[in-house]
C-alpha cells in the first residue's frame, strides 16, 4: 500500500459528549543523561548519571510542544487561558532542572515524585507510580514522548493506559482533540501507510518526533518558570508502598553488561574493475542484500 494512505480506522465507543471544552493536559517528562554524551555503566550495572550533564529527555519536548500548540490554538493555557498543562516526573530531586525547562517552554506547573525507595525501578514500577499520580490529578489526557533516550523501552505509555484503563493512542504523528465532542484523533505512520485512530477522553497519547518542532524556551518563559510551582511528592503521597517499587521489586533486572566493542577499521575496496562485485559481495556477506 502506498505511503500516505489511510489503512485503518479503529474506533472506541464514546462515553458521551462532554459539556466542557477545558482540557487538563498532563505531560510525562524525565530527566536523562545528555543523549549525545558517552554513557558509562557503574559497578551496579546501572547507568552512571553523576558524570554526565542531565537534561530534559529530548523526546518529551515534542509532547510538551504538542500540548502547548493545541492550547494556543484553542483558548490558551496558564493564567487567563482555558486549559492547563501539568508536567509529571519521577526522579531524584535534581530532576527539577529538567522540569524547569518544560516550564520555561510554557507548561503551567509540575509534579515531581521523588523518593529514595524508587531507585532502580523498572518500567513496570514506574508506570505504577505515574498512574497513581495521574489518577489523582484529574487529567483528561496524558501526553508522552515515545521513549526516554536513556532506557529506550518505549513501553511506559502503553503500561500507563493499561493501568488506568484508558484508551492508548501511541506513536502519534498528528494529534487533534475535539474536547466538546469528546474525541481525540491521531495519525500514526507505519511501514504500510497511515493509520487514523480515535478515542474518547481520558486517554494516553505518545507522540513521535515528526509531530512538531519543539520551541526554544523564550527568555520571558525562562523568567516566568521561576514563579511556577513544582510540587514534590513522596511515594506515600501518591499511595504506593516502598515494597512495590525499586530494584528489588522490579520485574526486570540487569544480568550482565559489556562495553560496545571498539570500532574496527573498515574494509578498503580498491576498484580495479571489480568494485561493483566487491561491494555487492560485502553487502551480501552482511546479509544486507
Amino acid at each position: 500500500m502506498a505511503d500516505g494512505q489511510v489503512i485503518g480506522n479503529i474506533r472506541h465507543i464514546y462515553v458521551g459528549v462532554r459539556q466542557e471544552s477545558l482540557v487538563k493536559f498532563l505531560v510525562c517528562v524525565k530527566q536523562v543523561p545528555d543523549s549525545w554524551a558517552e554513557k558509562k555503566l557503574g559497578a551496579d550495572a546501572r547507568l552512571d548519571r553523576a558524570g554526565v550533564d542531565a537534561v530534559l529527555n529530548d523526546l518529551d519536548e515534542y509532547a510538551i510542544e504538542e500540548a502547548l500548540r493545541i492550547c494556543e490554538n484553542s483558548g490558551g493555557n496558564g493564567e487567563g487561558g482555558e486549559h492547563s498543562i501539568t508536567l509529571l516526573s519521577m526522579g531524584p530531586d535534581r530532576a527539577t532542572e529538567a522540569i524547569r525547562k518544560g516550564l520555561s517552554m510554557g507548561a503551567d506547573n509540575a509534579i515531581l515524585i521523588s523518593d529514595e525507595a524508587l531507585s532502580g525501578s523498572d518500567a513496570l514500577a514506574t508506570s505504577l507510580v505515574l498512574a497513581k499520580a495521574i489518577e489523582a490529578s484529574g487529567a483528561h489526557i496524558v501526553l508522552c514522548g515515545t521513549e526516554s533516550t536513556d532506557a529506550r523501552m518505549s513501553v511506559v505509555p502503553a503500561m500507563l493506559a493499561e493501568r488506568l484503563g484508558w484508551p492508548q493512542l501511541t506513536f502519534a504523528g498528528e494529534l487533534k482533540i475535539d474536547a466538546a465532542a469528546n474525541k481525540v484523533t491521531i495519525k500514526r505512520m507505519t511501514d504500510e501507510g497511515i493509520e487514523e485512530m480515535e478515542a474518547s477522553l481520558p486517554c494516553v497519547v505518545s507522540v513521535i518526533e515528526k509531530i512538531n518542532e519543539p520551541r526554544y524556551p523564550s527568555f520571558k518563559g525562562i523568567m516566568a518558570a521561576k514563579k511556577k510551582t513544582i510540587e514534590t511528592r513522596s511515594l506515600a503521597d501518591v499511595g504506593v508502598s516502598g515494597d512495590q517499587v525499586g530494584s528489588a521489586s522490579s520485574w526486570s533486572a540487569v544480568v550482565d553488561s559489556a562495553l560496545r566493542p571498539p570500532r574496527s577499521a573498515g574494509i578498503k575496496v580498491v576498484d580495479e574493475g571489480n568494485g561493483g562485485n566487491e561491494l555487492v559481495s560485502f553487502l551480501a556477506d552482511k546479509k544486507i542484500v
Binding site: 524547569r100 526554544y216 527568555f219 523568567m223 521561576k226
Partner: protein, 389 residues
C-alpha cells in the same frame, strides 16, 4: 585523570544563577542549531539572512532583552552579556546584529524617546519585525564624533536632514535609523524611517572582516522629518555615548565567547592531530599555548562577570567598560591568533572558525571605541588628564 575542560577551569558557571544558565544554554543551542552549520557560507558569500535571524532571535526575546517593557524580555544585564557571549562564539557578526538592534537603536529610543516613539518602534524591534540601525560615525569623524558634519535644520515645524554616516551595521536592511546630527541646540538624535524620501543606504562591499554582517553608508539628502522625529530626552554627545556604553558592555562579554570558541577548537584539534606519532597536544609548546589561552579566557570571563554584576547594581562606570572592552577584545584577538598556530594551515580556512574569528575581531578592536581611545580613557581615569583632544 580526565582532562579538565579549558573552558571552565575556574568553575565560573557557579557564579551564574539558574535563570542566567538557562538563558545562556538556550542561546548556545540556538547558535548550534541555526548559526554554526551555515555561518561559514554566509561569511564566504559576505551576506547574512538578517531578517530571518532577527525574527528567530525576536521569538527568544534576544532583541533589547535587558530593557523593560514594550515587548522586551527585561532580563539582567549579566544575562544579556552571557547571550552576547554565545552569539559571538558563533560569529561577531551575529553579536553585532543584536548589539546594534538592542543596545544602540532600541536603547536610544527606549532611553531618550517619546512615549509615541517607543510605542511605534520598540515592540516591532523586540520581535524582530523591524530592524534598526544607529548612525553616529561619519567617514571623517570616527573617534571624534563631536565634529560630525550631518546636520538637521528647522524648516517651519519640520526638520531637514543632510549629510552621511559611514560603517553602519544593519544600515542597508534597516526599517528605522537612529541618526545623530548637529542642530542649533547641539547634537540631537532623530528617529528616521528608512522609507523616508531622501534616505539612501549603500552596502559596503570588499570587507575582509565581519563578512557575516551587513554594513553600509547612509546618505541623507534634504530628508524631511516631522517635528516629533527628534528624540526629546537628550541633547549632546551624552545621548550616543550612553548607547555605545550598552553595546560595549555586550562586546566585553561577546569577545570571551569568540575566544572560547577558538580555544575549544584548538584543544580538540591538538588532541586529534598526530605528528611524530603522538597528538600535538602531547608537546610542551602546544600545552603552553593551550594553558596560556585558557588562563586568558578565564580571566576575561571573570572580568566580564564582575562588570556584569556591577551593571546589574547600576554601579558600572564607563571607564570600567573601557577597561573591560579593551582587555577582552585584545585577549580574544591574541587567543584567535595563537589558536591559528595550533591549527597551522587548517587554521586559515573556513572549515574552522579560527581565522573568521580573528578577522572579525580586528573590526571589534576598532568599533564601539578604538583600543587607543579606551587606553586614553583609562589614562584619563588614572591621571585626570584627557590626552585625546
Amino acid at each position: 585523570m580526565d582532562p579538565k575542560s579549558a573552558l571552565d577551569l575556574l568553575s565560573i558557571d557557579h557564579l551564574l544563577s539558574d535563570e542566567e544558565r538557562d538563558i545562556r544554554d538556550t542561546v548556545r543551542k540556538v547558535v548550534d542549531d541555526k548559526v554554526r552549520p551555515y555561518v561559514a557560507d554566509w561569511y564566504e558569500k559576505g551576506d547574512l539572512p538578517a531578517r530571518e535571524l532577527a525574527r528567530e532571535f525576536g521569538k527568544l526575546g534576544l532583541l533589547g532583552m535587558h530593557l523593560e517593557g514594550y515587548g522586551c524580555a527585561g532580563t539582567s544585564a549579566t544575562a544579556y552579556g552571557l547571550a552576547c557571549m554565545e552569539l559571538e562564539a558563533g560569529d561577531s557578526g551575529l553579536r553585532s546584529l543584536v548589539s546594534v538592534q538592542g543596545s544602540l537603536a532600541m536603547f536610544a529610543i527606549w532611553k531618550f524617546g517619546s512615549e509615541e516613539q517607543k510605542q511605534q518602534w520598540l515592540p516591532g524591534m523586540a520581535s524582530g519585525e523591524f530592524i534598526g540601525c544607529f548612525g553616529l560615525t561619519e567617514a571623517d569623524y570616527g573617534s571624534n564624533p563631536s565634529g560630525m558634519i550631518t546636520h538637521a535644520k528647522r524648516d517651519g515645524k519640520d526638520w531637514v536632514l543632510n549629510g552621511s554616516k559611514m560603517w553602519i551595521t544593519n544600515g542597508p536592511i534597516a526599517d528605522v535609523a537612529v541618526v545623530w546630527a548637529q542642530t542649533e541646540d547641539g547634537i540631537r538624535g532623530f528617529v528616521v524611517p528608512t522609507k523616508t524620501k531622501g534616505f539612501q543606504a549603500n552596502i559596503i562591499h570588499k570587507k575582509l572582516s565581519l563578512r557575516a554582517s551587513i554594513t553600509g553608508e547612509l546618505v541623507f539628502t534634504d530628508l524631511r522629518l516631522p517635528e516629533d522625529a527628534v528624540l526629546p530626552g537628550v541633547v549632546g554627545l551624552k545621548g550616543p555615548m550612553s548607547s555605545l556604553n550598552e553595546a560595549r558592555f555586550g562586546i566585553l562579554y561577546g569577545t570571551v565567547g569568540a575566544a572560547r570558541d577558538c580555544l575549544e577548537v584548538a584543544t580538540d584539534y591538538a588532541l586529534s592531530r598526530i605528528q611524530f606519532d603522538r597528538p600535538i597536544a602531547a608537546f610542551q609548546l602546544t600545552q603552553e599555548k593551550l594553558a596560556n589561552m585558557a588562563l586568558e579566557v578565564q580571566k576575561g570571563f571573570l572580568l566580564a562577570m564582575h562588570l556584569g554584576r556591577l551593571k546589574d547594581e547600576e554601579k558600572l562606570h564607563p571607564d570600567q567598560i573601557s577597561l573591560g572592552k579593551l582587555n577582552n577584545v585584545r585577549m580574544a584577538l591574541e587567543v584567535a591568533r595563537m589558536s591559528r598556530t595550533i591549527l597551522a594551515a587548517n587554521g586559515v580556512t573556513l572549515e574552522y572558525p579560527i581565522m573568521r574569528h580573528a578577522n572579525n575581531l580586528e573590526s571589534v578592536l576598532t568599533y564601539e571605541g578604538t583600543s587607543e581611545i579606551h587606553l586614553l580613557t583609562i589614562g584619563r581615569a588614572l591621571t585626570g588628564i584627557q590626552a585625546f583632544k
